[in-house]
């Protein structure tokens, strides 16, 4: 399928480029489609391509020697992954797997260098994106170190809840456990507790947030 110019214009990496510059950029981008549950990258593999999500969602995660998974981030349309390895030439520090059917745009490492050579303003955009990723990881460290598990679950619910402008994320209890750094059973108990307190309602496949302020209060005080 033809590379969508409108999508490329919405990607923070390429903010500020002219129409002619986007036309030459399009030639360096390729599209890739994957099914749900497919591995895109494995931790420790060399990285050759920077990817942008066009549609769907992927999880970036690390796995312990015992097989326990810690999700570092969920990457959504317009966002990128594999940035770190592309820029520091080291193996991928995390694995990436699709959570839904996914459409990606990819730019190979050498071609990214061409883009930077011809459009140096892209470098500032990249710095902003990487700074945002660092900020997000700092927030994760803060959650795992200082926040009680029910506060972590509350934060996940608030951050992952859908609204009119962005697609709803579907998460299993195991996904939430991997994001919160805990076990699935603990997430199940936390959800029951939040329901008993009236902050959420469990309606079959839906977790309905009925009291946003109560959840925010839990996040701040836990």
């Amino acid at each position: 399928m033809a590379i969508q110019l409108e999508f490329l214009k919405s990607v923070p990496y390429f903010a500020g480029l002219s129409t002619d510059e986007f036309d030459s950029l399009k030639k360096l981008v390729f599209e890739k489609t994957l099914r749900r549950g497919e591995a895109i990258l494995l931790e420790g593999e060399p990285a050759e391509t920077l990817f942008f999500i066009v549609a769907g969602a992927v999880k970036v995660f690390k796995t312990s020697a015992e097989g326990k998974e810690q999700i570092l981030s969920i990457v959504r349309p317009g966002e990128s992954f594999n940035d770190v390895s592309i820029f520091d030439d080291a193996p991928s520090p995390a694995s990436v797997r699709t959570m839904t059917p996914v459409v990606l745009y990819g730019v190979r490492k050498d071609e990214l260098k061409t883009i930077l050579h011809h459009h140096p303003q892209v470098a500032l955009n990249i710095i902003k994106v990487l700074a945002g990723q660092v900020r997000q990881l700092l927030s994760l460290v803060e959650d795992l170190s200082f926040r009680h598990v029910i506060g972590r679950v509350a934060k996940i619910l608030l951050e992952q809840a859908g609204d009119e402008t962005s697609p709803r994320t579907q998460l299993t209890q195991q996904d939430m456990a991997a994001m919160a750094g805990t076990a699935r059973e603990v997430v199940a108990r936390s959800l029951k507790t939040l329901e008993a307190e009236g902050s959420i309602k469990l309606d079959r496949h839906r977790i309905v947030i009925t009291d946003k302020e109560a959840l925010r209060g839990l996040v701040e005080t836990s």
Binding site: Q4, A55, G162
Partner: protein, 88 residues
């Protein structure tokens, strides 16, 4: 921006399903039905989303994802007479 249509239902990965039938045994509402020696089809009208099938599955073939929403959103209707097999 392109959007993928979201269908919220338990997902059965046929490639991972080994036909052990533990999900059928654990489902108190008989919402999971074996078709042939391996494929299991979830009858959405009966499923209460207890996720016991996901918990008991030894291969991770069944997943029961939640949709997280703020209260003001209209309900997504996930029920159908017979849910399609999720080809993954």
């Amino acid at each position: 921006m392109r959007c993928m249509a979201l269908v919220v239902m338990p997902v059965v990965n046929q490639a991972k399903c080994n036909g052990c039938g533990l999900c059928i045994d654990v489902c108190g509402l008989k919402a999971i039905v074996r078709v042939g020696s391996k494929v299991t089809v979830i009858e959405m009208e009966k499923c209460s989303w207890c996720i016991q099938c996901e918990i008991v599955c030894p291969t991770g073939a069944i997943t029961c994802p939640y949709e997280i929403v703020f209260e003001e959103h209209p309900k997504t209707d996930s029920r159908s007479v017979l849910s399609p097999i999720a080809f993954l």
